[in-house]
Symmetry: C2
Subunit: 216 residues, 2 copies
């Protein structure tokens, strides 16, 4: 088995690679709140264990084995988040840190039973897909609200920014997963957007429109 720290590295590399194709030492250091030198140490170790492809100075990608582990951690993270919100009534902005701890509980049986207990949910509270027990899931193709044109309709389906403050903002604005929206106006000057949500008009900034994801 792997240490918590190794698991955190694998997860970070997975997420970073999704965006850029590979992860650099500095990106990993930033995302794990550690220093580049520490990252280099760990990269050697993970490469030694054949969990990453690493050539000095060139950034890293996960091997098949490494990816499998990363996905299993993400599965655990998202299932626990679902549990915390749906069963324990946590708010969606309160669950991340606790799930960061819970995701390292090793037992596969535990997580498969938890999955069954909750009825095999497909998405976590933030709209991210939950891998099944074989590690399969659709890498969802969501677009930001900012890609909609006037009169475009869509359903709020995810977030690009998972920070507490953004999630709290969305909750206050009632811009939560599953809501139907329609763009009624786009401001040319600052790219802010006015949305029709149920019977309300909601004005959001360009930044929010970029970080709020939709399905059509």
């Amino acid at each position: 088995m792997n240490t918590f720290t190794e698991e955190n590295y694998l997860k970070a590399i997975y997420h970073l690679s999704l965006q850029a194709g590979s992860a650099s030492t500095n990106q990993i250091a930033t995302s794990l709140n550690t220093k580049a030198a520490s990252v280099t140490d760990m990269l050697k170790k993970l490469a030694e264990k054949a969990l990453i492809n690493y050539t000095k100075y060139q950034g890293v990608t996960l091997t098949a084995t490494g990816e499998k582990i990363a996905i299993s951690i993400i599965r655990k993270h998202r299932l626990w988040e679902y549990f915390l919100v749906e069963k324990l009534n946590f708010k969606w902005d309160q669950v991340h840190d606790v799930a960061e701890e819970l995701e390292h509980i090793a037992s596969k049986e535990l997580i498969d039973r938890l999955d069954t207990f909750m009825g095999h949910p497909k998405y976590d509270p933030h709209g991210d897909p939950i891998p099944d027990s074989n590690g399969l899931f659709k890498t969802h193709e969501l677009k930001p609200v900012s890609t909609l044109v006037v009169n475009g309709k869509a359903i709020i389906s995810g977030v690009r920014d998972h920070s507490t403050s953004f999630l709290q903002y969305l909750e206050r604005m009632q811009l939560t997963i599953g809501k139907k929206i329609k763009v009624t106006e786009i401001n040319d000057y600052d790219h802010s957007v006015i949305l029709q949500v149920e019977d309300k008009k909601i004005h959001i900034s360009r930044e929010v429109a970029n970080n709020l994801l939709i399905a059509l």
Copy 2:
């Protein structure tokens, strides 16, 4: 906060002290599967943090602070065991190792919500009392079956041995928590006992009678 290892030491010291009043270096080493020299290191550290009372060669006891932490870990352990059995349908002999991991999840809010979700259970699946969120619980005064006389009646309420094999044995014999029993015979020679449980007669050894706990 404390490390997982520190928490495990505090828990071990708590359990050992319950029996003998204090815990010795060797007892702690045995119970944590480590070596006496490692224990001595940790005892110094815990004493430094004022979590234990330690004088060289004299064994240790928990301070009030140390005990509070130990009890909070026991609360978490037992609540998780209850969850695993009652909600996820684990068998009572399968939950210990997973609970050993879960008990170190820090969030107090998590555990209090979990407690509420399950309806504030008073006992875990093995009959051990669950401390409430203030750390209060009745240190239960159960006696072994072996203290009963012929025709004595009681209710199975706990176990002294939490090993997988003992728990599996009890399950096979249908000697589970809550069952009403009556002693129909005691064998003078080997101190084995015949119990009436529901409509069955069950023959148990002296060893089992010593490790199975009852309330009257």
